[in-house]
Each structure stands twice: as C-alpha cells, then as structure tokens.
Amino acid sequence: MDNEAFDAIRRESSVLEKDLMDAYADNRITRRDFVRRGTILGVGAPVLGAVIAACGSDGSSTDTGAAAESGDDGGSDSGSDTETDSGSDTETDSGSEPEVAAETGGSILIGIAEGADLDPVNMLDFGTYSVCSSCFEYLVGLADDGSGGIGTLGLAESWAPNDDGTAWTFNLRSGVQWHDGSDLTAADVVGTIERMIEVGAGLAGVVSPGGAVATDDLTVTVNLDGPNGNFPVLMSIFNPQSLITPADYAAGTLLNDRPAGTGPWIFQDFDPTTFVVNFTANDNYWGGRPILDAITIQGFADPANRVAAMAAGEIDVIQEFSAVDGASLLTDDNFTLLQPPSSNHRQVYFNTQLPEGGPFTNNLVRQALGYTLDRQQIVDVVYAGFAIIANDHPVHPTLPFFDAGAVPQRTRDIPAAMALLEEAGFADGVSDIIQVGQTSFSPDLAAIIQENAAEAGFDLQVNVTDNGTFYGEFWCTGASYGVDPESSGPGIPCGASSPLGIVDWGHRPTPDIFFGRALATDGDWNGSNYNSEAFNELFGQYQAAVTVDEQRAAASAIMAQLHEDTPALYPAFFDYLGGHGNTVTNVEVTALGQFNLLNTARTA
C-alpha cells in the first residue's frame, strides 16, 4: 500500500469520501462496492482509480480498471460473484461486442410493454418509462462504461454532498439545449424537484418545498430535511419519475401535449390506441448526434406477443421478457441478451394488523410460511434460473452495506414451520387466500407457495384477478379494512390490503424506496400495514447514515428486525432480461426498461 499517495488523495477529499476511502483501505468493503459507493457520492473515476492504485490491489489498476470493475457487478447478479477482483476484466457486458460493420442512419422498431399516459412525473410502468426517458433526461444518468450503474451520462456533470450529507450540490452540463433551442438552466431542475415533491415521487419526506435552490444558472443545491447518503439515487435514472422537464411543465402535463426534452431523441407523434411513438435524432444533442435517424417505440399489451414479434424479427429490440415466455429467444443465435443489474422482486405481503386475531397478524405464522418456501425451486421454476435466492428482506446481496452474516438464510424447514405454527396456536393449520394480479411471475409464484406451504399445514387458495382489481381491492386501496374502497373515505393507505398477497417491485439501486414506501408505517405502498416503531427508527438511522460503516450497521439491524417480524416474504431477486436482434448493435437497457440508444446502429 502506497500510504503517501493515499494520504495525498485523502487530504483533498470531503468527510464522506474520506470515510469511504478508509473503509476500502481497511478492506471493510470490496473494490466493487468502493467504486459503486464512490460514484453515488460523486467521486470521479480518476480519483477512484488513484485510490485503488494507492491501496495496491494489484499494482496495475488504472482508472479504466476501476471503471470496468464497476461494470462486472452489472451483467448477471447471479454470476458476478465469481469474477470479483480479478482486475483483468474487460467490459464484457452490454454495448461493447466486437464492432460489426455498422451503417449510419436508418431507423429501428422497439417492442415495449404497453404504457399509459405520457406523464413524466406520475408515470408508473416500464412502457411509459422508456418513452418519456427517450426524449427527457435525468440529472444523474447511467455510467458511461456500459456497466448499468449510475454515472455521468445525465444532465449533471458532477455532484457532491456537504460534510454531513444534509445538502447536495449538482453542477449541470453547460451548453445543453431543449429541443426548441432554449438553454437548460438550474430553474428547470428546481421546477422538476418542486413537482416531484408535490406528487411524492420518492422525494416526499426527504426534501421539503423550497429545499432546492438554483445557486447560479448551472448549479443546484438541494437542502434535505435530514442527512441522506443516497440522495443522488433519488435524482437518478433509477427513480424514473425524476426526469428533468421544462420549468413550465406542471404535474399532469403530457409529453404528447407539450413535446420537449434535452435527450438524443425528439418526440414526433404518439398514437395512444396502438401505443406507437415516433422519435427522430437530435442533431444538437450534447453527447453527439445519435447514429440512427429515427426510432419507433411500439407497445404490446401481451408479453407473449412481444416475444413472438422478436422471435419473428418484426421488432429490432425487446424491452423485457420472462425467461419462461422467452425460452426460444434465449437459445436464438440471432438474438443478443441484455441483463442489466437488477433488484427486481416480488413481495409476498401479509396484512400484519388485520383482521384482528387473523393468523397472519402473528409474526410466528408469517415466519412459518417463510420456512416452508423452497426458494431454489422458485428460482428454477418461476424464473427459469434467472434469479438469486433472497432472505425475506429487500437488501440486495451486491450492495456495499449488505452483510451476509447479519441474519441466517431462511431455508425450507417443514418441522420448524410446524413448530412455529403450534407455538402461535395454529397447530391445526391456517387457511387463507393469496391475492395476485395478472403480473408476470406472480401467479406462478403463488402456485409454488401454495404447494410448498401445504406440507406444513397451510391451506392457501390462489385468486388471480386483473391488475386493476388487484391494486384497487386487495393491495393499497386507501380505505380501511373490510370497507368497500369506493364508498369509504381515505383511511390508512394500505389498511384494507388482503391478509396475504403478492405485489411486484421494480429495480432500485439502493433499498431506500423499498424501505420507505413498502415497510415504513406511513409508506404509501406499505401493503403489510407494517407498524413497527423499531423499524421506523432503524430506517431513520439508515437514511441518516452517510458512512459505509453506519449504513452497514443500520442495514444489518433492519435485516434482523425484518427477519424477526417478517412483515413480508422476499423469496428471490430476479434478473431483468431484455435484448435485441443481431440486426442492431450497441443497445443498452436498464432494469426499469429505459434505453440508451445513442450509439445504436443497424448492422450493414
């Protein structure tokens, strides 16, 4: 270890950066985690590379080595563990296959999940995410190394926290123009943040109105309600509703009513009945003109039809598909699979409060169900192997503050489950209904849970309804328990959620939203009605934690708390599968369905 070089860099760094560097120097975190965490804090790749070099992991590391390292936690989460710290890796993931002769110009057709209204701040589905993010951009974008993590391919060139993480300053790129020719200014960013606070959008409770201030034309300082070490993630591509829209936008303004954007693609037209959107290339894009002349995005209501269109070569790019539906694509030589990093999961929630005396209000019964699950079977069957086992908490094992030793992995243990049921006073078994919507994976997962749990004495029925009915009657309906959501006034957001159900959660790079919206007592998506003072306090500690050690301690405590209370089961994190035909090259997709098509080209 080169102490002199290390100290030199350290002296120049902020308090949070120093802590991170110390953690890495002491081997408390891996190099991968160091790079990832450093990126969130806004530390540039040269500095990260220099620290790695100073700490002498293998002497030959340079800044590019560091960047590529952050790349290999991308790919498949399941396979990444075997290639840590080898140092010799190249960028193997997306967009960098050996250059095939490519044409300039041309257009491509992209098949996505059918979306809804093109409202950038209120959108909720992958289809709409991909449309709006084609012309608008995020403050914090993707990394420029194709790793799928966050980085500088956004409107902010750099960002940094103050010493205690209560304020974050973002420096905007200069020379960015809206599609109408006017300049992007800090006022647009401040306006976007105000709109986000107004509708929630992940910022409610983190920033108060007026918290974002334009220091000058290209600098925005966001003063938070409390310390938050992960704030840039909330302004990144992984909080999809944070797209930077013009200052004159309002919550509810639709892209097709007021076309705008700073991104590489200019909105042309939108047909809501067929869900087809056309874009043309932006000649004045700050990152250079796209290679293609135009893109067309087409929505498919049925995922299987999307797969069929891809298999037939009718579309060039497919946004997302399940390994089971798309088994034919996985073995297709003319298809390139894209697997961005993903913490996508299905949450099996229990209503922990109601009905009073109901079996699932008892945490022992909830734990018992957790012990019946054959998680390997779920990974193999529901996700065709494209998933990793999870341990009933939403902290993904690749996160820097994940501690595998915090709680033991829950495995299938029928005697333990039966003992827990007996202790809870349900020795004769429990019967109830698992409510699921028509979302991919949920009905299949419910069927496996039903089979797994039967052996321990759970008699569970599976009720599959369309998504509207599921979200409106069985999840967070905004009504009180046992009350018709349509005829009653507002109650606890999820008071009326069903005793047991499965809901879908998309990828987030840190679990802040999983904690704050799904498990905190006042979370608007808290389907479990989880009401734990201990958890809320730990979550507060986690949010306030800005150093790696503090985050790890808080996250471990949360994992232990969730293990004991089991407000929900998290059987697996599954991979996001997207891809493209070999008629095109250099396509990048995120696990939330957004594309980076700047360098995409048709093969000659």
């Binding site: 299987a304 039903q450 089979e451 029925q461």
Partner: protein, 321 residues
C-alpha cells in the same frame, strides 16, 4: 363459435315438431289396431336402434370415462394436480414433453398434464349437467305453457325469449358472471338462464303442433284440466324432443363453461385443474414448442363435447325412426 352454434341449433330444433308429429301420427296409426303393445314395441325398437348405433356407443364410452375420472380422479391419475413432478435428483421437471413419468408431459411449473386433465373433469361434470337440468326443466315448463295457451301470453313470453336470444350468449354470460362474481352457483345459474330460452323455443314449437292434434281436442272435450292435458297428454309426446334438447344443451354447457374459464371466469382456486383455465394459462408457451399443456386439455374439452353430441345425434335418429 358458441354463438353461431346455438343459433344453428335453434333452427334445427324448430324442425323438430314436424318429425315428432310424423312419428306421433305413426304411433296413432298403429294404435288403432293394438295400442299398448305397439307403443311398447316402438320404444323397444327405438332402444335397439340406439344401442346399436356406433355414435351412441362411442359417445357413451367417452362420457363414461369422464364420469369415472370425475368420481375417482386419484385412481386414474399418477400425480396430484398441484404437485411438482420431480426427477431422480429431486429437481423440478418443467416443460417436459410427454414421457414415461408424465404421460402428457409437464407444464412450465412442473405439473403433470395428464393428471390435471383427469382432475379437470370433475368441476365440469358437476356444473354442466346441473345447469342443463335447471335449464331444461324451466325451459320445458315455459315452452309448454306458451305452446299450449298461445295468444297474448305466448306473444309476450316469446318476444322476451327472442330478446334474450338476440344477445350473444357468451357476452351475456361474461356480463352476468363478472357482475355477480365467478362462484360455482353464479356460473351454474348463468348457464342455466342462458339455455332456458333456446329450450323453451324448441319445446314450444313441439307443444304447438301437438296441441292441435285430435287427442288433445278429445281430452279437452272430456273436460280434463289444462294441467292434466299438459302433463299427462302432451308431455309424454314431447319428451323425446326434451331429452334430445337436454343432451344437446349439455354439450353447449360444457363448451360455455370452459370458454368462461378460458376467459378467467372460473370458480375457486386459480391453481385448480380446470381445462379452460389450463388452456388459457399455457397457450403463450406454444411459441417455445411447449404445446402439450395446451393441446391435451383442449382435446379433453373437444372429446367431452363430441361425446355428448354423438349421443344426442344417435338419440335423435332413434326417436325419428
């Protein structure tokens, strides 16, 4: 498909009275010489023709098989419908083609398709016959009353029935089941309700022609009550029509029931073995070459409908003869 089928069938049913009338006149003709023995002989002859008809034999064999499957599914099947088929290492066998362990292959969840087909017979053989019995019973009453009394009462009821018939049956079924929930009772009631109108129309036509015959006039002149005439005089002479109608309706009930299940409107657990639901759940996987979880339940539906229709055809022929 169901809609046009029902439509065609109603027109076919409308021809029925002519035949029934002719047949009845045959009976009357022979009745003048040796009434009692001849009727018995006719019935015996009809039964002989029926039992020798290949259609009836094949149809009955199919139906008997499904009845056995619905009574003793565990005896005929190799796995539980919700059980994962496992290989020697204990791993789940998913999307495997037909093989020695899973005769009809396995689904993407590793369920045995053959066992699910066997277990899928029971819900259908409970709801479809029950709905048919209710529909035929109620339809016969309505049909006989309108056909016997005629006049303004017939006009009103017939127009009402035609109004119901004018709405596509499956559309009406979806509407009702969606509104009241897809419980077993609602689905049974809905199918029964939908089939009252076609049954009533057929029976009405038969009753209409019967009631103009001399034996009815004679009964009236004897001073018999209307109830007696309808139940004792006319009913025995239209019962053939009713039986054929019941069999035909049973086929349609099976089809309507599985169509509703295909559309996601089935009673109880979404993981239950259910032919319509299994077809709906698995057909997206055909594109990957996994055709067996879709085709075998579809064949099961087809076999039951064909079996019932073979019996119906054979009965109709026997009665006509």
């Amino acid at each position: 498909m169901t809609i046009s089928d029902i439509g065609e069938d109603t027109s076919a049913g409308a021809e029925e009275p002519e035949k029934a009338k002719a047949q009845h006149q045959d009976q009357l003709a022979s009745a003048s010489t040796e009434p009692i023995t001849t009727i018995k002989q006719v019935k015996k002859e009809q039964r002989r023709i029926l039992f020798r008809s290949p259609g009836f034999i094949i149809g009955s064999l199919i139906l008997v098989f499904w009845i056995l499957a619905s009574l003793f599914p565990s005896l005929l099947s190799t796995f539980d419908p919700g059980e994962t088929v496992r290989n020697a290492e204990g791993g789940s066998m998913t999307s495997q083609g037909p093989n020695g362990t899973a005769w009809f292959g396995t689904t993407r969840l590793g369920r045995d398709v053959y066992s699910r087909v066997i277990f899928g017979a029971r819900p259908i053989l409970i709801i479809a016959p029950l709905a048919t019995i209710i529909a035929v019973w109620a339809g016969t009453i309505v049909g006989m009353l309108t056909g016997y009394y005629r006049g303004i009462f017939d006009q009103i009821v017939s127009r009402l029935l035609e109004a119901i018939l004018s709405i596509p049956a499956i559309l009406l079924a979806i509407l009702i089941v969606f509104t009241f929930g897809s419980t077993q009772a609602v689905i049974t009631g809905t199918i029964a309700f939908l089939f009252i109108a076609p049954v009533a129309r057929t029976v009405r036509a038969a009753t209409l022609s019967e009631s103009q015959l001399d034996y009815v006039t004679a009964a009236r002149m004897r001073g018999e009550s209307s109830l007696f005439i309808i139940t004792r005089e006319i009913l025995p002479n239209v019962i053939g029509v009713v039986v054929v109608e019941a069999t035909v309706r049973l086929g349609y009930a099976v089809f309507t029931l599985t169509t509703l299940a295909f559309l996601g409107l089935s009673p109880g657990d979404a993981t239950n073995a259910n032919w319509g639901l299994d077809v709906a759940n698995n057909y997206p996987n055909i594109i990957n070459g996994t055709w067996w979880p879709t085709i075998f339940p579809a064949l099961a539906i087809a076999s039951m409908v064909i079996g019932v229709n073979l019996i119906a055809d054979a009965m109709e022929k026997a009665i006509k003869s």
